[in-house]
Symmetry: C2
Subunit: 393 residues, 2 copies
Amino acid sequence: MATGIPDQALQIRSLVRKSGQLELSLASVPVPSPATDEVVVRVEASPINPSDLGLLLGAADMNSARQSGTPENPIVTASIPEELLKGMAGRLEQSMPVGNEGAGIVVRAGSSRESQALLGKVVAVFGGAMYTQYRCVKAGQCLALPEGTTPAEGASCFVNPLTSLGMVETMRREGHTALVHTAAASNLGQMLNRICLKDNVGLVNIVRTREQAELLRELGARHVCNTSAPTFSMDLIDALVATGATLAFDATGGGTLAGQILNGMEAALTRAATEYSRYGSATHKQVYIYGALDPSPIMLNRKFGFAWGVGGWLLWPFLQKIGPAAAQQLRERVVAELKTTFASHYTKEISLADALRLDEIAMYGKRATGAKYLINPNKGFDRWPNEVKKTVP
Amino acid sequence: MATGIPDQALQIRSLVRKSGQLELSLASVPVPSPATDEVVVRVEASPINPSDLGLLLGAADMNSARQSGTPENPIVTASIPEELLKGMAGRLEQSMPVGNEGAGIVVRAGSSRESQALLGKVVAVFGGAMYTQYRCVKAGQCLALPEGTTPAEGASCFVNPLTSLGMVETMRREGHTALVHTAAASNLGQMLNRICLKDNVGLVNIVRTREQAELLRELGARHVCNTSAPTFSMDLIDALVATGATLAFDATGGGTLAGQILNGMEAALTRAATEYSRYGSATHKQVYIYGALDPSPIMLNRKFGFAWGVGGWLLWPFLQKIGPAAAQQLRERVVAELKTTFASHYTKEISLADALRLDEIAMYGKRATGAKYLINPNKGFDRWPNEVKKTVP
């Protein structure tokens, strides 16, 4: 029986008031007793992904953010611009837990064999509410990590690995043979680059700076196009000709880039065309938008005929579409290559209270490539005696 | 044996010079002798569809158009803006015939039973090069029209009827239950309205003027939204709530309308939502762009989550996708309802030479709703003696 587990523990909460005020705080919540098929995970690592920021910061203007409360119990308030508030109608006045994924140690387990088998193990969980010290989940939701894996190594088992694998899988299922990726120097982008190198899939990496381009080339990327280079348009078409990519995944989701990629694909396809068609090339060109780094409108300057599509792409609907067996195969690959292909790198490890400091929010809230934070909800909480990870074998 | 058929006949040609000059002219081409499985059709009616204008006018600035030649043998020249010229690389210096579809009388037939059976019949043809006095095609390409159908009535059997039927068919195949249509007062829009009324399919008709809205309401349309009305945004959402439409077909293909429709669909879906999702509603919302009436960029002001798509839609790839049996069913419905559901209306009937007059080009080149032209390539050519339609039974 685990001891040293408190009755109450901390959890980050995000609340949007009817008045348009965002309120971030630490709630003290009871540590639950697991049901038969459940386990309680002491969360020790949970990344701040762009997909978490949407829920955490709720479209608030963080320039208006103010700090109150105490260092141990900080409160952050900020204003949400009125025109964005109506998009939040569904969450008004609800104090919401945050954090899609994370990893930790199973410190309590229900009586089922499956639950008991996880006791003391390091597991990764995609369960929401992971910015929490103790999280109770179904045993079946846990991905048991191999011996010798730390929670920090297993913190990002789901969102980035399955998203990047999902991109390659989508490419195969929709009949394309190579990929374009924007925000390519991100953790996700580097992961996709490693998958494509390993699987011998052509990948056009689009980045915004020379430093990012150099980083990717050092990581073995074969085609890197820098939007800030004067030669970008031609570089892009050359890379599209070389790879034959007709599918792109775009994290920016705003501005002219998606349209430019489609126009580049069309130019690459017609470079080889022998016959004129006023409807453009017959080859389908697709851009999937999977992020919203750029909140400005998507502008498609259409010179790419009629065989094209732009659309939203999200991991979970994709996994539902391919079904549980195929999704399980992807998960198994992640575990098998967790320290190589799917390794994540973090700028900084912070506590729950740190995550509600204005200076830290200013850093991780930038959604900047190469500024990835890891929350350790139990950082600094070594004061409980007989800590379970020392008592379980 | 048909007599009175000339050896040479006229055909409209469109030529784009390397210099960026568009040149429209009437070519004199030999009237072919049909092979065994072919027939020669005396074309008497061929519509000017938006899809024909792209090939005919080739992105030229028609404000720069000049007339030369003679009234019987007119020549029109105009400049193509340099930035648009590279899109024409595949057709430079090729004199191209124009005209997707039309109808006429079979005046010569090859020896096959199928060909012979068509002699003297009014047939509709989708064959290209229909702005021609005598067009030789395979008998299998002809759609024989019922007794008592005139070429003018059968001129538009393909593009508009199959496109509007294809929209409803796409809706059914992709799991939607109602439709949105822009440019809804057009010939195509009126046709779609008749199909939806007949088939009891919800249809949101989007028009640009009060007159167009009234016209559609007189035609029985249940949901008409006028973009120039101050209440447009709310009218659109109300109509989307009432119909449950999550699929739109947009002929404009530029500007903010496609995005506004997606935002309207999202607002309609979330109006009924009980739970907040930061990714927006899970229901897929789709806009297909099937025209390019507005050449400005498509601007998607994305407040519609991640379950969405915008893409090109063209009739012929769609027909290929559904296969010959399903396509044949659509064609049979068109013939059965040609004078009712699929009736077309034209502003004016003109000759081939008229079609190359600057004042007429200014009218039909506007692509304006309610200004639909019909070319009769044999208008004014009654001088040949023993005209075949008088000699065949």
